[in-house]
Symmetry: C2
Subunit: 493 residues, 2 copies
């Protein structure tokens, strides 16, 4: 811990590092910075653990898992005979409650305590560089908090409600209500075609809702390879969801019969609840960003050290959704590790020289002080059925970035391991190859239970392992991973 | 195709390359050699497709899969409620029949035809260098077959029955009978503690047999990290198997009540059937190896080009179990690709120069002409419950090889993705790190459904991706693969 200067104001608290937001990202920043001896405080106005723990990753995957394992069992004769009926909705919701720790953050608070990190409960606003006012939501009492060295903003993001007539008063669900609902609506309309929309359509169809998905664009999961959206769409339709592509909602109203959504086509969809999943924005509106020369509500653009580029002095950092770089928990945690390590290396007594990658200022890409993977090596899993697992660049993105590209696709169902895994296994794998360096730029897997196959591709992409070497990475027989062999053969090996 | 010389003897057939054995290994050799224009024949006395297709990988995994998916469903509330009872044995056996193509090889014969590979049905014996006699099992008619350039032996392996009094006449099962049985015995004794023993103990316990496993050594799966055998042992015992470690069978007899196994402890185990799974030997006893200066029954030692080292002239190759290198289908197929490519490069008109790795003679390790991965980068999956997935060196093997080693272990159940995957998920992951180069030398995963996680480790090991770079390979949240992050943190990143 650096030496504490004399405090002049008793109501003022000083820490080496102040982290705004105690979600997974903020926790990781605090942990990494604190490990090297800096005093760290995190400021949180809601639950410690953040969106991911209570209203996103954990509860959403808990809602999806029961349907997933039942579907897997139904696809294998010898097991299928023992499966009678669908998911038990009440038990799914109860398990979801457990996975969300019953929305009680005492476990995570205990973890912070154990790590020696100070928790300040309240809402933080900048009053100047390295100075914040933290206001307790209950009492309204304000404290001044000073960061001796660095402030890291990790306040995440919040859903954006589109400006649709009647929507705001129709009590729409956002991802929070969808992941924390304590009953299953008889019918659910979902506006949106991204990850939240696709996952919640799958979960609520499993749970017995009649689900209607209203997608503005021409396909689901539009940022991914086109065959992804096709596969998920067709599976959702088979499962009984009503999926409408290329439609707009023009107006919404809620009456005694539920929510009525008036579409651009003239159709009206009536549902008990409506989930709006059309996007998120950085949660920076109420941080007093103007006091440090930034625009409230804007995203905090950072360099690969996670330092906010528009602020001088090397004291302001950001990580996670708030940066607008990548909006997933795992990549936010990755950014958090970089941010925490950079802050620790710069400001702790032992510096950064002896750690991997050399001194922080001179650090190269792919050192621990540069979030290099954010650019072209980001993984993502969508826990729909089929699952979707992607990393790196899509074909289009790779071409746009100027790479000479060849794509190899293979029908996963043709692999022996897939035939064993499930009768009628349907899936697709694709790799995007840089034909000049002969490395994998991106990979996409769609199919039952492909989530755990992704990390192989992530290591190949991040490690820039040449195809000629991947040839020697033998997939065990008969696993589904043997699709790797087929992909390489498809390239010509 | 190289130019055909005039044939003098009409009963003599000449091919550029003759492959002995049409299992997965022989098929792959033939395919790779044939692609480059060489004329290729394969000689097979049993079913085209070999052990793996009919009496090993495929039927054994089919026997295991139904129990696996049911166990996964039972471990997730919300799904568990819908599971009533165990596996339907009759349906499992029927599915197994399908996976073994009903022991009909017409599909594989068709594949050979399509690839332009000549199939010679019969048993082959060397009569001299590059000369073989192929005898039709039915008619007894013999043909002389001459290989213009190369012979590749891929005849696999066969079970060894230990020399136990009474065993031979007790009609013991080997892996063939265990994987192709058309009824489930009420009780099954298994002699052995390796992969076949562990997998069949799991399968037959699922199917309702009372299983007793008699292991000579102190643990199951003795070649793997010690925690592997412990986990599988404890799961088998929980599932109701009777597992006895450190016991020897001294004598066996079959009478009307079944098979009686007299143990070194004085105990007698009685079972309807006994499976002997104590090891395999190369299937070379009847190949006439003496005609080419080799000892019948011996393994065919090869270099990394798959050339048999004890025979001069560069015409004799071997791949698969027969070499004694690695006894798995996938690694045999890998060796087969190398052997086929080497033969093609040496003897086809276009040579090997323009392919990856440069000319075949000057090829370096990790080129397509060297089976480099066989030494320290071999993957293996054991489809028990928990599953076991390993690659590369164990801690002991790494130390024995002289590497400076550190092992990091992590409880997979502590990963968020595992908590989602199954209530009470139990598993362990370990990496063996070369502390000098800071690369992964080996990895072991034990736990439900870890099979598809293995390829990530295989790529890390084969690619020799430094830990500092693996740090940037972000596992998606919440997948079980996040254990990678914990392992790297455990190392100190």
């Amino acid at each position: 811990m650096t030496q504490t200067e004399p405090e002049h104001d008793p109501s003022e608290q000083t820490f080496d590092v102040v982290v705004l937001g105690a979600g997974a990202v903020g926790e990781n920043v605090a942990d990494r910075a604190g490990r090297r001896g800096l005093s760290v405080a995190v400021v949180e106005s809601e639950l410690v653990g953040g969106e991911c723990s209570y209203w996103a990753c954990m509860p959403s995957k808990a809602l999806l898992r029961s349907g997933s394992v039942l579907a897997a069992a139904r696809a294998v004769p010898g097991a299928a005979e023992a499966v009678t009926g669908g998911v038990a909705a009440r038990a799914v919701l109860a398990r979801r409650d457990t996975m969300a720790a019953d929305w009680d953050d005492s476990g995570q608070v205990k973890w912070l305590d154990g790590a020696g990190i100070e928790l300040l409960r309240g809402a933080a606003r900048f009053t100047g560089p390295r100075r914040l006012e933290v206001r307790d939501a209950g009492t309204g009492a304000a404290t001044t908090v000073v960061a001796r060295h660095a402030v890291v903003v990790a306040t995440g993001s919040e859903p954006v409600l589109p400006d649709l007539p009647g929507l705001a008063t129709a009590r729409p669900w956002t991802s929070r209500e969808a992941t924390s609902a304590d009953r299953v609506p008889g019918s659910l309309a979902i506006i949106g075609g991204g990850v939240v929309a696709a996952e919640m359509a799958t979960a609520y169809t499993d749970l017995g809702s009649r689900v209607t998905v209203l997608v503005r664009g021409a396909r689901l999961l539009a940022g991914l390879e086109p065959f992804v959206g096709e596969a998920v769409t067709s599976a959702l339709v088979d499962a009984g969801a009503d999926l409408r592509l290329g439609v707009q909602v023009e107006r919404v109203e809620r009456d005694a019969s539920g929510v009525r959504l008036h579409l651009s086509t003239g159709d009206v969809v009536v549902a008990d609840e409506v989930l709006v999943a059309t996007g998120r924005r950085p949660r920076t509106a109420d941080l007093g960003l103007d006091a440090v020369g930034l625009e409230p509500g804007s995203r905090l653009e950072v360099d690969d050290r996670m330092q906010v580029t528009a602020v001088d002095g090397g004291w302001l950092y950001a990580a996670g959704d708030v940066t607008g770089r990548v909006a997933t928990t795992h990549q936010g945690k990755y950014d958090a590790r970089v941010a925490g390590d950079v802050v620790a290396a710069r400001f702790s007594a032992d510096g950064g020289g002896e750690h991997w990658g050399g001194p922080v200022e001179a650090a190269e890409p792919w050192s621990r002080y540069r979030a290099t993977a954010d650019h072209e090596a980001v993984p993502q899993v969508v826990f729909t059925r089929p699952e979707v697992a992607t990393v790196g660049l899509t074909e289009d993105a790779a071409r746009d970035a100027g790479y000479p590209v060849r794509v190899v696709r293979y029908d996963i169902g043709s692999v022996a391991g897939a035939a064993i895994a499930a009768d009628g296994y349907q899936g697709t794998a694709a790799i995007v190859v840089d034909t000049e360096r002969e490395v994998v730029l991106g990979a996409t897997f769609v199919g039952p239970d492909v989530a755990e196959m992704l990390h192989s591709a992530t290591i190949a992409v991040v490690g820039q392992v040449p195809l000629s070497r991947l040839w020697h990475a033998v997939p065990a027989y008969p696993t589904v991973s043997e699709v790797w062999l087929r992909l390489l053969e498809g390239y010509g090996l």
